[in-house]
């Protein structure tokens, strides 16, 4: 009886065990349903994120060429060293070897290797011989990635115009920045699956259908003219002990910039070695008071409005003239001067009298028409607008100062463009740096046709102004030294005082000497503007800037095979007098 009862109890207990197994298995089945079916969407999304990884394929950055297809900025393939510390066997040994090649402290490399990340850069863009050495060590866990590095084969040439691209091939300054999206091309994204060790398994193909390599850009810059302009400007800056200088060479008929030299020069290969203020293309971004070069626009406006005639004469007060309660001076005292002579001798008093005749409202209208006070719309980063005071904001003194180019600020590019308008008979052209954009196969993607923005004044007026500007460069004019053997030159000198914050007025010592002109005068091929910033010696536009104009023009006209237009006897006398001996071992470097 006892036996039977205990047997029954035993079976009951065993059935209880069986029942609890059924319960446990049911719980597990429910859990499996919960994980596999109810949370399917959420978990499978997570898994995709975990397994898929995107690889960005950066196309090669396009090349920048000059107008004759000479390379100005290129991309070269270099190698970057990375480490995957978790795959490395002996971190200390590896760090020792790497530091011996890279000449960086071992502790610095150890710090990188000891981080918890699965991927660390050791050194970006190594020079090839170092890369070879490190490869020869055959250290597990180290690897190389091909990266493209921007290289400027001509070093300083057009440095500020080109700007530069940084470590990740992003344009940071200049045209590299402005045309970054064009040069860079579209980055493609490749989606690959990977296993837990981070190895890529298979690709799903490229994600962007319309991928493109970086485009090439052909500039309007001419490498040779650019080189000469930089060399001559550099020489003039150093001989006059100036702070810097700017030269712009433009085709007056198209607005194309043939050269834009900024001194001090800047080597974009080593942009970190120079101060950021050197990076700027000051011809576009910086403002200055143009001085007497501005008188040409005053006279053009007055002639256009028929308020004066070329033969009108003005009394120049023998060099000292009171306007409101200030006195305007001329460098040399004059009596009665014709309009032409006012320009030729650059009489401030004459100019302010003409401006009175014209009236500020009209003058303002023409200043704006010549493109001052607004951007030229050249494609370049941070272009300055300039400052033109509104007529009703001007005091009497300011009104007369604007007549000779003080109290107003412009960029070198605006001034060169406006002089081109005089050269081409009254059309304000759209200045440009870029001629064409080519795709990677060499097909033209975009072509910049020359375009003019507006007609400023009539051709007849411009012919009269041009005649006067020619006389400036004749023997007794202020711009005599700008003359070019065999060619007639039209131009205007400028010597303006810089404002100084310290005394909140104009400085006597700090001046800007400039020369703006075009050549050959009657069928112009080149507009050239030369600005010397704060020369200590020869501090007049006619003294320091005009010879630079002459030398650039001389070279460029020869180089472009422009036939001479002046009688041969002039050829001799003109050249002899403008001769300045520049040091031949220029300061470039």
């Amino acid at each position: 009886m006892v036996k039977l009862r205990s047997r029954t109890e035993l079976k009951k207990n065993i059935r209880l065990i069986c029942f609890s197994f059924i319960v446990l298995f049911s719980i597990i089945a429910v859990r499996a349903y919960f994980l596999g079916v109810l949370r399917y969407g959420e978990l499978s999304k997570r898994i995709q994120n975990q397994h898929k990884c995107k690889i960005a394929l950066t196309p090669n950055r396009g090349t920048i060429y000059d107008r004759n297809h000479m390379e100005l900025a290129v991309s070269i393939e270099v190698e970057s060293l990375f480490a995957r510390p978790h795959l490395m066997k002996d971190i200390n040994d590896a760090a020792k070897k790497i530091s011996s090649v890279l000449e960086t402290p071992r502790s610095q490399i150890l710090k990188k290797l000891n981080c918890k990340k699965k991927f660390v850069w050791i050194e970006r863009k190594l020079n090839p011989s170092r890369a070879e050495k490190i490869k020869s060590f055959n250290i597990a866990g180290l690897g190389f990635v091909q990266e493209s590095q921007r290289f400027y084969p001509n070093k300083e040439l057009a440095g500020q115009v080109l700007g530069f691209a940084g470590m990740d091939s992003h344009g940071l300054e200049g045209l590299e920045l402005e045309y970054d999206s064009v040069l860079k091309g579209r980055t493609r994204v490749m989606v690959v699956e990977r296993d837990a060790l981070g190895r890529h398994l298979f690709t799903e193909g490229l994600k962007t259908e319309d991928h493109s390599e970086g485009h090439d850009i052909i500039l309007t810059i001419d490498k040779n003219i650019q080189y000469l302009a930089e060399k001559e400007l550099q020489a003039a800056v150093s001989i006059s002990r100036a702070k810097g200088g700017t030269a712009v060479v433009m085709d007056p008929w198209t607005g194309e910039i043939l050269a834009m030299a900024i001194v001090p020069l800047f080597n974009p290969n080593q942009f970190l070695k120079s101060k950021p203020e050197i990076w700027r293309n000051r011809a576009v971004t910086d403002l200055f008071e143009p001085g007497s070069t501005f008188k040409s626009f005053l006279i053009a406006s007055a002639l256009e409005e028929k308020l004066i005639k070329s033969k009108d004469i003005f009394f120049c007060e023998n060099g000292s003239y009171r306007v409101a309660n200030r006195i305007i001076h001329d460098v040399h005292p004059f009596g009665w001067l014709s309009v032409k002579k006012i320009l030729m001798h650059s009489s401030n008093i004459g100019a302010s009298k003409i401006s009175r005749q014209l009236g500020m409202e009209l003058f303002y209208k023409y200043i704006r028409k010549f493109g001052f006070g607004s951007e030229t719309q050249i494609q370049f980063p941070s272009e300055a607008t300039g400052f033109v005071p509104l007529p009703y904001h001007c005091s009497e003194h300011t009104k007369s100062a604007i007549a000779f180019g003080q109290g107003i600020s412009v960029t070198a590019l605006q001034l060169a463009t406006a002089y081109s308008a005089i050269a081409n008979g009254g059309l304000l052209m759209q200045p440009s740096f870029v001629k064409k954009v080519l795709d990677s196969s060499g097909m033209v993607v975009q072509e910049n046709a020359s375009s003019f923005r507006s007609r400023v004044v009539s051709e007849k007026t411009m012919r009269a102004v041009k005649d006067m500007l020619k006389s400036v460069v004749r023997e007794d004019g202020t711009g005599e030294k700008a003359s070019v053997a065999g060619f007639t030159v039209a131009g205007k000198t400028g010597t303006s005082q810089k404002t100084e914050k310290r005394i909140s007025g104009y400085s006597r010592k700090k001046i800007i000497a400039s020369f703006a002109g075009f050549v050959p005068a009657d069928r112009p091929r080149l507009t050239i503007l030369v600005i010397i910033d704060e020369p200590e010696k020869m501090a007049f536009g006619g003294e320091i800037a005009a010879p630079v104009f002459s030398r650039i023009a001389q070279f460029a006209l020869n180089y472009l095979h422009v036939p001479p237009d002046a009688p041969p006897e002039k050829l001799h006398s003109g050249w002899k007098e403008t001769k300045i001996i520049f040091p031949e071992n220029g300061q470039r470097g």
């Binding site: 035993l10 059935r15 065990i17 059924i22 499996a32």
Partner: protein
């Protein structure tokens, strides 16, 4: 006789089916790993195939041996296992893998004495309990103490390896066997109290166990660290969905899941065969357990009852633990899925157990109902 042959055939069929499924899933989940490590993508497949064949032979051998014969072997077998468990701890003899000394290595094969010890404990407990039919079980000195003496040394030797999971499984086995045998509730609760106290102590004295426990409670919070394994397992089930990604098409086995061919093989099944595949596996195991319980109930004698119960309980417990771990219901614990996971010793022992079950089954008398 009819139901007897159904149970008999089902019990032969289930392990063979599961071994077959295991082979497929082992190949699917280990081939890339094996190709990388051993330059042979079928490395684990071949070995498991060999074990599987040996296991099936073992099963039929054990089936032929009349189980009462095991009574005579009970004590020597137990002593042998105590010996083996002691020897494996001697430095230089046992092989250390991942900080635990659990294996004897004989050339390409390795042997895990703790697996065999489970069987020895079942046999010795069954034998001992079957002798205490007449109320002796109610007394501490007769009903409890001898069984404690059988289990505690084995338990301690296994804890020393350390193999916490197997040790706790043995304690649970003892508890269940005593419960079924009708040990008074006061002894059982005392035993349960002592067991849980010692478990808590063992957990706290080893930092990694606490860590495992905390990552179990909050796996997503530390998905890249301690919770990595379990999160990857969740993801595998989630990626599988209802029908699975298809055999061989899973990606979680690509080094995301830890040891996908051993402990986490159910996750691979979940990913590649989906919820349906997992449900099938669960159902098959449940049928196995029910068959085993039936044999236990209808066994010819008490020894057979206890023996069948012990075997089926231990196999069932291992299954539940493995499934619960890969689904995040229990903290991570190295328990293979019986018959399916890669692993020689475990497979052989489980197949021997099935052989014994079949031997008991052949003596069953299913006609006497209750």
């Amino acid at each position: 006789m009819h139901s007897k042959s159904i149970i008999h055939n089902t019990l032969i069929f289930i392990p063979i089916f599961l071994i077959g499924l295991g082979l497929i899933m082992i190949y699917s989940s280990s081939s890339i790993f094996a190709a990388q490590k051993f330059h042979d993508s079928a490395y684990f497949l071949k070995k498991q195939l060999l074990f599987g064949v040996c296991g099936i032979i073992c099963m039929f051998l054990m089936m032929r041996i009349p189980y009462p014969f095991l009574k005579k072997l009970a004590y020597p077998f137990w002593l042998l296992n105590i010996g083996l468990l002691t020897v494996v701890l001697i430095p230089g003899i046992g092989t250390k893998v991942g900080g635990a000394v659990r294996w004897f290595r004989l050339g390409p094969l390795s042997f895990q004495p703790a697996e065999l010890a489970k069987l020895a404990v079942i046999v010795v407990l069954s034998y001992s309990l079957s002798k205490k039919e007449h109320g002796g079980i109610k007394h501490f000195s007769i009903g409890i103490l001898p069984h404690l003496i059988f289990v505690v040394p084995v338990f301690l030797l296994i804890v020393a390896q350390p193999d916490f999971g197997t040790a706790m499984m043995l304690i649970t086995l003892l508890f269940i066997m005593l419960f079924v045998a009708g040990t008074p509730k006061k002894f059982l609760s005392a035993l349960a109290g002592i067991a849980s106290a010692s478990a808590a102590l063992l957990i706290l004295c080893r930092g990694y166990r606490v860590e495992r426990l905390s990552s179990f409670l909050n796996p997503w919070e530390n998905a890249t660290g301690t919770g990595f394994q379990i999160v990857q397992s969740f993801l595998a089930f989630g990626a599988g969905g209802f029908f699975g990604t298809g055999l061989g098409k899973g990606t979680q086995k690509l080094f995301y899941l830890p040891e996908p061919h051993t402990d986490f093989i159910l996750s691979v099944i979940g990913e590649e065969l989906g919820f349906l595949g997992v449900l099938l596996v669960i159902a098959i195991f449940l049928i196995f357990v029910i068959c085993g319980i039936k044999i236990s109930i209808h066994a010819h004698d008490l020894f057979g009852t206890y023996l069948a119960l012990g075997i089926v309980f231990l196999t069932g417990l291992q299954t539940v633990m493995n499934m619960a771990v890969v689904m995040g219901l229990l903290p991570t614990k190295g328990t293979p899925l019986p018959f399916v996971s890669y692993g020689g010793t475990s497979l052989l022992i489980n197949m021997m157990g099935v052989g014994i079950l079949l031997s008991i089954s052949s003596q069953c008398d299913y006609k006497t109902r209750r």
